[in-house]
């Protein structure tokens, strides 16, 4: 099953995503890793919530 980079939305097995991983330390995810849909992301002072219409909610700090 294909998974997707949650920063750039490209397949994780295609291309180099090390820069994405590095950037993600200071960014919330933007794409659903399961379906690459753009998620609705709410950044909060102490965390974030990312919602995919198909795959539900992710949270992080």
């Amino acid at each position: 099953m294909t998974t997707y980079c949650d920063r750039c939305g490209e397949p994780t097995d295609a291309g180099d995503h090390r820069a994405c991983e590095s950037s993600r330390q200071l960014e919330p995810p933007r794409y659903c890793p399961a379906c690459r849909r753009r998620m609705k992301v709410q950044v909060l002072p102490h965390g974030w919530v990312a919602r995919c219409v198909e795959h539900g909610e992710l949270t992080g700090a």
Partner: protein, 332 residues
């Protein structure tokens, strides 16, 4: 040459409390790297003399994210670019929770931000409800950043009890047409003047590292000094995917530190706040250097669409530097 400048700045700014003018700010921004420690030391002395040791802590939250009709080239929330940021609204219980989290850090300010040209009735209604709900549960000053305002909207915000209003000039007047085309620098200035004249504290700063020249950076500092805001938030460009500025280089740390010191020397009495971009521009060590080089306020926690340092790390740093957090009672 540089010794003359710092000597002059020491007399004018530190001893007399008069900010540097344009030509001197340009010269500060051109100082060689070897002069940066001395420059930061002077800026720190100025901050301690005219502002004191306290640091104002603030948290911010995005009430309405994305879908903005404006084309500010640095912003991932513009609806005109192919940014991955989608539009989303925060509900009132989440807003109150965010204010509680912010207050728990010791912050005295909580800023509610919306990505809009200016507020419409729906947004103002949400802001009004949010402020009432926060005031009922949280002891914190509320600031807002809702874009350009009419006089009627300014009056409404005063009535709601908004303590401070943020509206940045973003860049020098001469560079602004390269930053945004859907509104003018003069429109921003007009909102700032209305806010100040209505009695709200004015928070007005900008972003450096957007391709402006050093002269334009100095121009922004002196234009801000002319505006006399209560607070200047200093952002360093964090190039966002999908925006016209996505490929600009991150500002070098030496330039960021020169900018901090230059702004402090131009604005000796103003609250000078670390805002977005410090994590990627300065890192941990540079953050410390800036706090010892003129900065006297921080945004703790996350930003609007990106993440910040762990608030605990920032609070520990302030403790290590023996810089007390400004208490709420002293801000009123």
């Amino acid at each position: 040459m540089s010794e003359d400048l710092l000597t002059r700045a020491r007399r004018q700014v530190l001893e007399e409390g008069r900010g540097l003018g344009y030509d001197d700010v340009v010269e500060v921004l051109r100082l060689p790297g070897a002069d940066i420690p001395g420059l930061l030391e002077l800026a720190h002395d100025v901050r301690m003399r005219w502002c004191g040791p306290e640091v104002e802590v603030e948290g911010i939250v995005s009430l309405k994210t994305g879908g903005c009709p404006e084309d500010c080239h640095f912003c991932s929330q513009s609806g005109q670019f192919t940014s991955p940021v989608r539009s989303v609204w925060l509900n009132i219980p989440e807003l109150v929770e965010a204010a509680k989290q912010t207050a728990a850090t010791g912050a005295s300010e909580f800023c509610i931000v919306a990505a809009v040209r200016g507020p419409d009735e729906r947004l103002l209604s949400q802001v009004r409800d949010g402020i009432e709900a926060i005031h009922a549960e949280v002891d914190i000053n509320i600031a807002c950043s809702l874009g350009m305002l009419t006089q009627e909207q300014v009056d409404q915000l005063v009535e709601m009890g908004v303590h401070r209003y943020n509206h940045n000039l973003e860049s020098a007047r001469s560079y602004f047409p390269d930053v945004a085309t859907t509104h003018s620098w003069e429109e921003r200035w007009a909102t700032c003047e209305m806010v100040r004249e209505a009695g709200m504290e004015l928070c007005c700063g900008g972003i450096v590292g957007m391709g402006e020249t050093l002269e334009q950076r100095a121009e922004l500092a002196t234009q801000l000094a002319e505006l006399e805001p209560h607070e200047v938030p200093l952002n360093f460009l964090n190039p966002r995917p999908g925006t016209p500025f996505e490929s600009l280089p991150v500002l070098e740390s030496g330039d960021a530190l020169r900018t901090i010191a230059a702004f402090r020397l131009a604005l000796p009495r103003t609250i000078l706040r670390y805002a977005g971009g410090r994590e990627i521009t300065l890192g941990d060590l540079g953050t410390r250097d800036g706090l010892l080089g003129g900065i006297n306020a921080v945004i703790v926690g996350n930003y609007l669409t990106t993440l910040g340092r762990d608030p605990g790390d920032d609070l520990q740093l302030l403790d290590d530097l023996q810089m007390p957090i400004k208490e709420l009672s002293k801000t009123l």
